[in-house]
């Protein structure tokens, strides 16, 4: 049963600390998306990659957020330094290029104190 995995599932950290979230897309999926979900803003697209190349990261605060795909099986989202307003659930989703259905991971719930 192929699925997107994300680690960690929960993260509590203090303001100013670095946070790294990881995502393993479904094997063979070449497009990966990062979303953030908050009560106030809902689901927002932060960035996405195709064939490991960043296509759009306009939704991401550039000064503190960075997203990479070191290889086809791993996508990372890093926040440095973290702030309380970054508290949210971060989702990764993957899709096989050319198709439309995105498969979401279970999310990482981040709390920045």
């Amino acid at each position: 049963d192929a699925r997107v995995t994300q680690t960690p599932r929960h993260k509590v950290t203090e303001m100013g600390q670095e946070v790294t979230m990881r995502c393993q897309p479904i094997l063979g999926h070449n497009t990966v998306f990062w979303y953030r979900q908050t009560m106030m803003q809902g689901l927002e697209l932060l960035a996405y990659f195709r064939n490991r190349a960043p296509l759009d990261d306009s939704g991401m605060p550039k000064d503190r957020f960075s997203a990479e795909m070191p290889d086809a099986t791993l996508a990372t989202l890093k926040i440095q330094p973290s702030e309380p307003r970054d508290s949210a659930v971060y989702f990764c989703a993957s899709v096989l290029g050319g198709l439309d259905t995105q498969y979401f991971g279970p999310g990482t719930r981040l709390t920045v104190l």
């Binding site: 997107v4 497009t31 998306f33 979303y35 809902g42 689901l43 697209l45 996405y48 195709r50 296509l55 759009d56 989702f91 989703a93 899709v95 290029g97 439309d100 259905t101 995105q102 498969y103 979401f104 991971g105 279970p106 999310g107």
Partner: protein
């Protein structure tokens, strides 16, 4: 910014009743998708309707799309307690980019 706006924000019905929720959007789209999210979980894809389609069915789900009004509706027939979840519409533009609406929280009471 959210492309889709959903209505109602919350819906409470009895098991066996139908649930209808609506989604309006602002710009041209390639397709519109509906997702379900159970509390504390990720989103699950339910159904996709392309911009040249008007209606689509999948099991107990029925989706309509009116591109002239830039609106879509999702109907869940014969609801079950397990349908309790939040439902999101998402509009797709070029490159598989999805823009989500604010969601409708559905509570199905047994």
């Amino acid at each position: 910014s959210q492309q889709g706006e959903e209505d109602p924000q919350a819906l409470s019905i009895q098991e066996g009743e139908n649930a209808t929720m609506n989604c309006s959007y602002k710009t041209s789209i390639n397709n519109l998708q509906w997702y379900r999210q159970n509390s504390g979980r990720g989103l699950v894809h339910l159904i996709l309707i392309r911009s040249n389609e008007r209606e689509k069915h999948s099991g107990r789900l029925r989706v309509t799309l009116d591109t002239s009004k830039k609106s879509s509706s999702l109907l869940i027939t014969a609801s079950r307690a397990a349908d309790t979840a939040s439902y999101f519409c998402a509009t797709a533009t070029a490159g598989n980019k999805l823009t989500f609406g604010g969601g409708t929280r559905v509570l199905v009471k047994p």
